[in-house]
Amino acid sequence: MSLVAEAFVTQLAATEPWPENAALYQQLKEDQILLSDNASSLAVQAFLQMCNLPIRVICRANAEYMSPSGKVPFIHVGNQVVSELGPIVQFVKAKGHSLSDGLDEVQKAEMKAYMELVNNMLLTAELYLQWCDDVTVEEITHPRYGSPYPWPLNRILSYQKQWEVRRKMKAIGWAGKTLEQVLEDVDQCCHALSQRLGTQPYFFNKQPTELDALVFGHLFTILTTQLITDELSEKVKNYSNLTAFCRRIEQQYFEGQERDSAAIAARSSKRSLLR
């Protein structure tokens, strides 16, 4: 989008209030969605809940291809489509809702840095586990990723995606890592997050911010998704303040919802992964 068009769209976004029929698109919850996409989707849902903005979750098999950037989740608000947490936060800010307005400059810098840390380490570790660990790839990823499609399309699509992800891993230097090293990195990341959280209810004391939403999305998904082994969730369980943090956010923002609640979503994926 050119600069002028983007400015125009932002103006437009600012003038329209949040509609009632805003929708969030992700892959099929029961059979198709993978760990990393589930985490990202949950993070966006948590963020919108924290802003008190209503959103419906719609599951489509081709959500990835509908997305403007190729990544899920994306939201459809009015006549605009925005994908990924970063741009969604900015879009929501243009509409006048923000969680981080009360932070000073130094805190904003730290928040951005910690969000990068989660993206860099947790998300990459999830991708590594899903696409580069042979056992997980064979038993979980391949069957799930192509499940809505008939043979041989399902195999072709999942091999194509695997090739793409492995190329990226090589570019960033993660291809040479072993699973133990990846789990070590996850542990360091959780350690850093745990230190930063301390005994506070949220990362920036009283009010939740987008960092809390992002951390919740990833940690909750890791804790409640059953994989081949429990090593990943064990790393997170070592830090009691992180598990308490997840429980607190779940209770505050997702309890009492019949559908699309985080717990039900995670439990269903857990059930279906127990093959």
Partner: protein, 260 residues
């Protein structure tokens, strides 16, 4: 996604053995990890683009810079190989056609890099180092990213201008330079491609450079002469015009053939 994030973490932990991070509190260590991620994710790819992929900068500055200090004969192809490798990496991370989409590049990527610099500036504030009065590994990493950007004479220096507008970061870089790299005070550029410590050995390498050049020319000459002798193009005959005579005759024959 972090280029050398694990590298950065190893840096943090190995330095702990050497006490650079010994005095940091747990929160500060966590902050180090977070800021390392921020740097590697937002700033480093754009720095690589600025130095290695941006056409003007690469041709007029970086390639010359490296070619002057890399020993002969590697200086002919090593900078180009590095350029290709960096371009490939950036294409994998940002998408294959990111070079064509000028606006996206300028708007999103450079903007995020500028924002990253501003965030670093805000975090540093008016302190001497990031965590108080003594330096830690984060200071080393930030310095290593910022100093080349600050000091290099880039023709296309959008990011550089933004850095120069952040006064506290400039002062921070120059103070670390003067504290820990005092021999570089006058001319930090010549040693910048390698670690600053090797600047003293650069003068010693010059006679080696000459010697290597001379040797390679001699070897080339010897190879040509050897081939000429062995294949019979040139042969030593007693007192005849053999060598000189043969070649013109051969050339005349070729000309006749061509005319036909």
């Amino acid at each position: 996604m972090g280029f050398g994030l694990s590298h950065g973490i190893k840096l943090v932990f190995s330095l702990q053995k050497y006490n650079a991070d010994y005095d940091l509190s747990a929160t500060q260590s966590a902050d180090t990890l977070a800021f390392v991620s921020l740097l590697e994710e937002k700033l480093l790819p754009v720095l690589i683009h600025t130095f290695w992929v941006d056409a003007k900068n690469y041709v007029e500055h970086t390639r010359k810079w490296y070619a002057e200090t890399i020993p002969f004969p590697l200086n002919f192809f090593l900078p180009n190989a590095m350029h290709k490798r960096h371009l490939q990496r950036l294409q994998l991370i940002w998408g294959d056609d990111y070079m064509e989409d000028e606006e996206k590049l300028e708007k999103e990527l450079y903007r995020e890099a500028r924002e990253c610099l501003t965030l670093l500036s805000q975090r540093l504030g008016s302190q001497k180092f990031f965590f108080g009065d003594s330096p830690a590994s984060l200071d080393a990493l930030v310095f290593s990213r910022l100093a080349p950007l600050l000091k290099a004479k880039l023709p296309n220096g959008k990011l550089q201008q933004h850095l120069k507008s952040l006064q506290n970061l400039c002062n921070y870089c120059t103070s670390i330079l003067s504290l820990y790299f005092p021999w570089d005070g006058g001319d930090p550029l010549s040693a910048a491609p390698r670690a600053a410590g090797t600047e003293s050995t650069e003068a010693e390498e010059d006679p080696h450079k000459r010697r290597k050049q001379l040797l390679s020319v001699l070897v080339g000459l010897a190879a040509m002469l050897g081939y000429a002798f062995l294949s019979g193009i040139v042969s030593i005959q007693r007192g005849s015009v053999g060598p000189a005579g043969r070649q013109p005759i051969a050339m005349e024959e070729e000309e006749e053939e061509e005319e036909e």
